[in-house]
Structures are given as structure tokens and as C-alpha cells.
Symmetry: C2
Subunit: 464 residues, 2 copies
Amino acid sequence: MKFNAVKPEDIQYLGSIVGKENLVAGDDIHEDFSHDELGDLKKFPEILVYPKNSEEVAEIVRFANQKCIPVTPRGQGTGLVGASVALHGGIMLSTARMNRILELDEENLTLTVEPGVLLMEIAAFVEEHDLFYPPDPGEKSASIGGNINTNAGGMRAVKYGVTRDYVRGLEVVLPNGDITWFGGKIVKNSSGYSLKDLIVGSEGTLGIVTRAILRLLPRPAKAISLLVPFPDLERAIETVPLIIQSKAVPTAIEYMERAVIENSEDFLGKKFPDSSSDAYLLLTFDGHSREDIEKDYEKVAHICLNKGALDILISDTQERQDMIWSARGAFLEAIKASTTEMDECDVVVPRNRVAEFVKFTKVVEAEESLRIRSFGHAGDGNLHVYLLRDELSKEEFNKRLHKSFLRFYQKAKELGGQVSGEHGIGFAKRPFLEDVSGSIQLDLMRQIKRAFDPNNILNPGKVV
Amino acid sequence: MKFNAVKPEDIQYLGSIVGKENLVAGDDIHEDFSHDELGDLKKFPEILVYPKNSEEVAEIVRFANQKCIPVTPRGQGTGLVGASVALHGGIMLSTARMNRILELDEENLTLTVEPGVLLMEIAAFVEEHDLFYPPDPGEKSASIGGNINTNAGGMRAVKYGVTRDYVRGLEVVLPNGDITWFGGKIVKNSSGYSLKDLIVGSEGTLGIVTRAILRLLPRPAKAISLLVPFPDLERAIETVPLIIQSKAVPTAIEYMERAVIENSEDFLGKKFPDSSSDAYLLLTFDGHSREDIEKDYEKVAHICLNKGALDILISDTQERQDMIWSARGAFLEAIKASTTEMDECDVVVPRNRVAEFVKFTKVVEAEESLRIRSFGHAGDGNLHVYLLRDELSKEEFNKRLHKSFLRFYQKAKELGGQVSGEHGIGFAKRPFLEDVSGSIQLDLMRQIKRAFDPNNILNPGKVV
């Protein structure tokens, strides 16, 4: 890959597109833009631009394509795999100033947004209209563009599915600067290959999402959370397949261990409702009315008690639920604050294999002498496993990290799983994607990348 | 495109793969295999093979790829756009003998099947286990492989979505004979481009689906249908956006006119519960219990009555519901039986534009002097519009047909719609796909086709 450096006249030209107030160059670029949330991979872009609409994005990309300058799209930089880091310098294209909610269409139950709108802004807006956007990743300050590009999942995937299931249409700027719409407000579509579904989860490597039409649902009137302490983690997680099999439909099933809860208490300076047990399941049920969900959660409470749960703590007020779920939402940052450096593994396995995988993390922790913490979405098989450096030397950490990663992804493959459930591949997980998916699939992906982006200017060095 | 003819030694070789009892050649091929359900496009394959497993499919495809012989995959031939017709002769690969249900996994709520399993077999099997496979196209004798390849939708898409939403994993034989799995039993996946979603809806042009892992739901315990007569069609359809906006969540919302109901009564020899009104909405609601769904359907009944509905006929027994829905399921065949020849248009528009589109069909009917009947999925914006030849000469019919099609697809585009909601593009709708989607998207699709199938041996002449 040979890219051209950004020259003074390029800066001038880009300034003429976005306006000088929407451009930062060279040393003026804040350090934040050299890395993402995980922070390990560091590289500054040569220029940072803030386009305000699709046409400006198209002009920037067309120019970059002609000049062979790489373009790295960036939302809020909350990713964990380096997808929004300007690996080859060049132009960083931030969507932060394309952040308008454009239309709520109540007849079609759709919301049209620009990519820079934050997840928490969408949640607040639709709630005002008694509507509901189900995807619910822990990181509420992520942008919707980033969520679409990683096919983010979050807590409620057990019942409601993932971001892909709520994207009806996308306006996309292709690497040659063409602007096109994939999908639309329509509910069904069998009109050729689903290009929209290729863009979802493509981490900014095939096109830049400039508008999205999201599908909304009526808001469930009532939600109840159960916090269920167990004597040990194994018993907690082994309960999950029984819950699925019981045909109850929880909205979310999360697992957590005392050590992680304690990190979160320290980090937030707030007590969790209970931290006396070694392991917990946290479940939510939602529906039209309390009666509507009562049968389900009573059935699940019985299953948990039969499997040895120590108690069932019911939270039926909004306040109590918010307290628990905000603690859950802070787990990642709490773990991060407890160590010097960390990396993570976002594996997904069939949901009846979670217990096996978690047990395996304990084996690796012991054998590789590396502190490992995990929590995650027990109900949909998506685990977040954090490998912590603590007092290890950087070199020693990287050695143990790499060995542990290899073992984790190998195990995921063995169990019928995949490299990433919702955080994506980015830069950091590329070698493991090939290991797990195999060269046949990687070859197809590379050819698709070439079809969209023959000059490889869009987020080069990521995914494939 | 230059393909080679099937030679006697090719027949012998293919026989050595599948066994002689699973091969039919030349004049022995039944006429049924020269067309699909619509029947207009006619072409015989040179040889028809019935592989029994993925390995045989792989060997056949690898051989065809080397010899440059086209392969047309075929399920039950119930399609309506010519996708399963052997346009260039060659090998027809029927999945009819790969028809085993392989595994019900109740811990992961998945069903693993071969592509030749029929939709009605899946429905019956999962019902026995108190589970539910939501996609519900009218044609219950279609194969699941065909449903996956057209991304079939059906009646329940309003609440439950389409086939794509229920495909967790696919085993696919690629055009070079490689066998690979896209997705799996996992619920979430952000591991590179979603190749699984490319295969869904690709009409056998990118690979041959040899196994599928389907997502199941717990079966709703209770369903209620409402048949709602209206004084005219316009009022019926204009009620639909109000229903969506009311935040009630019906499982299905269908519209129908008296003329179509009468066709169906003639065809089935059975009376519909009511056919005294000009137009009807047919709605279903499902849930855990009657109370659970009562609020929703009472709200909707009020909305209908306020909009001028003449009555609300409630069907709460399985028997009454089966009667109504089986009449609905027979509409296509009933209309077909009422004329000499027909063609159809499967447009999808945003659901608040259905009324406008249906009105437009009346305009075209009058202006082009062509009998036109329609019915369809008012709740998800997917209309089935039938253009009937009756006593017209073949030539005159084709002229009026083509003109009407152009007008319909142009209108769909204007309204933010697409060429096909669930029947696909196949051969018949190719020119209209380019009209509506534009050349940028068609170019991308063609390049994707080339990436998967550089020799263009898999279902050539279809989709792109």
C-alpha cells in the first residue's frame, strides 16, 4: 500500500470543502484522535475534518480517492479494536458534526438520523414519543454510525436482536464519492444482493454511512429486573440454557462476578444492591403490563432457585433498575481503572457453551499467570473477557496476552463461535479473524473490499 | 456467455456422483422442470440431478465449474420470477432429496435443516415442540432453501420480520466446490463482512445452500384474527398507518377485495365467512394469553370502526382462523385459475404509501385496459399485483403487461419502494431492478457476483 502524504495544498482544498472552522491539521490535532477507547494502538491522522453533510463527505472522499490519501471515518472513538485509528495517517473524517435527528415517521415507525447522533440521544428522543430503539450497548456515548459499523449488540439482544435488525436503510458515500441509498423505509426487500447488510458491520471499510433509517418499536410499558446471586459462577451460567429452554423470553441475561462488581463500586463510588455472593445473573423482562411478564419471570425465578440460586432480588422501580444497569454499564471502565493496561476479547459462542468458555478463561488465567476478568451477555453467548497487565512489564504482558488470545479464539472456534460478537475486527483482531473464519471466507471478503474500494483508501488496514 | 453442452460422458460422471437413480437426462425430464410456478419462461435443463448431501453438491458444482456447464439450483419450483429455470440448459440441481430435519437444539432454540425441507414440514415439526418459526409465506409447499434464497417474507412480517431475521447460519457450496459455513448457532456476530446476509436473497447465484441453522421462538399460546369489512378499499388501506401509529403490534395485516375473495371461493369450493363488502382488512394478533393481546386488538377494532369499518368479525378458534387463512393462502392460485395467463408484480413501498399505490393500480387497469387484481401485506407495504391476460392475444397482453410494469415500478421508485418485497428478481424482473436501484448498485452487485463466481456457472442470467 502506497499512500500519499497530505500536502499544504490538500489542506487548503479540504478547508474549501468543510470550512476552516471544521478542520484541524498536524500538531493541532488533539491526542484523543490518535487512539480509540482501548488506547493501545496509537497513530495520529495528518488532518482531521468535520463535514456537515453527505455532499461534503462525498467531496472529501472523492478527493482522497484521486490523491490516494487514506480516509479513516470516526464516530466517538469508543471502539475497542482500533477501527477508528488512522493507521496510515491521512485524513480522519469525523461524523461528530453530522449529528441531527432528521425525521421521526410515526406511520412507518422509523427514525432517520445522521451518523454522529449519540446512542443516548436516540434513546431519549424516542422515549419522549413512547417509542423504543432496542439495541442497547453498554457505551451510551457511542455514535449511531459507529454502532452500525460494528453491528453493535448490547444487553437486549436476547429478545430484540442486534443493530442490523433495526437498520432499514442507509445512505452511503462510496470510496469513489458516489452517494447512494441501500434499503429505505421499506419493511421487506428481495431486490438483489443485500448491500445494506454488507455495510452494517463493515467498520468503515466499504463506504461511509451518512444517513440511517432506523426501525423503532412501541415502547414496552413495564420492565422488571431480577438480580440473582449464586454460590459460584458455574452454577449461574449453567442456568442460562435452562432459561432459554423454558421458553421464557427475557430481554437481557447478564452474568457478573463479585470481583467485577467491586471494581464497579470503587469506580462509581456507589454500592451495588448486593455483592456478598461470588456470582450473579442479572435479568430483565419487559412487556405491556406486569401481568404480561409475571408468568415469565416467576418461571425463571423457580429455575434459578432449583439450580441453587441464593436469593431473587426483584427491582421493579425505574430507579432501582437504573442503579443496577448503570453499574453494569460501567464495568468496562471500572476494570480499566483497576489496572495499568488491558486488552479484550469479545468472543461469541452458542449460548449453551458460555459456561464452558468461562471455565476455560479461569484455566488460561492460571496457566498464563495473567489476571483475567470477564462479564457479559450470557443470554446471547457474547462474552467480554479482559486481560489485565497490572504490574507486568509491557513486553511480558504482550507475550502472555498474545498466547492467551490464541487460546481463547481457538477455543471459540472449537465451540462453534466467532472472533467478535459486537466489537468488530478493526486492526487488533485481524489475524484471529483469518484463523477462525478461514481463508476461503477471507478471500471473499477481500474481493468484496476490492469491488467497493479498488484503491484501498477507505480505512485501510482494517478488517481484511 | 459461452457454456458447454452436457455430453454423454458428463452424464456418466454425474451419475457416478449421485447414483443413477438420482439423475434424469434429456427427454426423460418432466415438463414441470422446464418452468416455475408462474410458468411463462420455459427452458429445459439438459440433465437433472438429485444430490443427497453437501459433498455430492460440491462435487457436482466443482465438475460443472471445470467444464463450464451452468448449474441451476432448484427447490420446489414455486417461484414466480424464473429464478429456478435453467435458462442456459446445463445441470439442474434439485435439493428435493436433501430434505432432512437434522437437529432441534432446544438450548439454543435453533433448528438445523437441509434445504429441501418444506416450509409446512418445518411448521408442523416445531409446533410439536411448542416452538415457532415465524416466516409464513402463502406457499407452504415451498422449500426452505428457496425461502432463504428469496428472503421470503410472508404474512407475519409486520411483527416478526422476514426469513433473513431467522437465518443464524448457512452451509454453502461455493461455485468452485468449496464447502463453507457462514454464521452458526451464534446470536451475535461482528466478525468481518456478513457473507451470510449476502447469500440470503441471492437466488442461487452466489452459492448453493446445503444446510441452514434457523432461529426459533417460543410458540405464542394464543392468536386471534379479525376480519374487518370496509365500504371501499381506500378506506381499508388508509386505516393501516393509523394502526401502526397506535403502537398496537399486529402479527399480520392483509388487505383483500371482494373480487379476489370470490375467485378464492370458486377455486376452493368453500364460502368465505363474509363477502358482502367491497374490501377487507384481515388482522392477526398473537401473544401469551388472551388478556395479553386483548388491549391491542380492542384498540385496533376502535380505530377501524372510526375509519368507517362496517363490522368486526372476531375469529378466536383455531378452526375459524384456519378457514380464513387458508382462503388467503389460495389467493394466488385462485386468481391464476380465473384467467388464461398472468404475470405479477411484487412491489414493496413504505407502509404508509400502500393506499396510494393501490389507487394507482386502478388507474393503470383503466388506462391500459388490462384486468388487474391485487392483494397483499398491507402491514408491511408489500403488494402482490396480478396482471391478467384473459381473452387478449399473447402479443397484445405482453405489450400492455410491459407498459404496466414500467408504470408500476416507476411509481414504486417514486414512493421510496423497491422492485421486490419477497419474490426476488430472478430472470423476469432484471431490467426493473436496474431501473429502480440504479447502475451504481448494479455494478457493485455484478462485482460481488464475479468475486463468488468468476466463471458465471451458478444460475447464470439471474438477478444481475
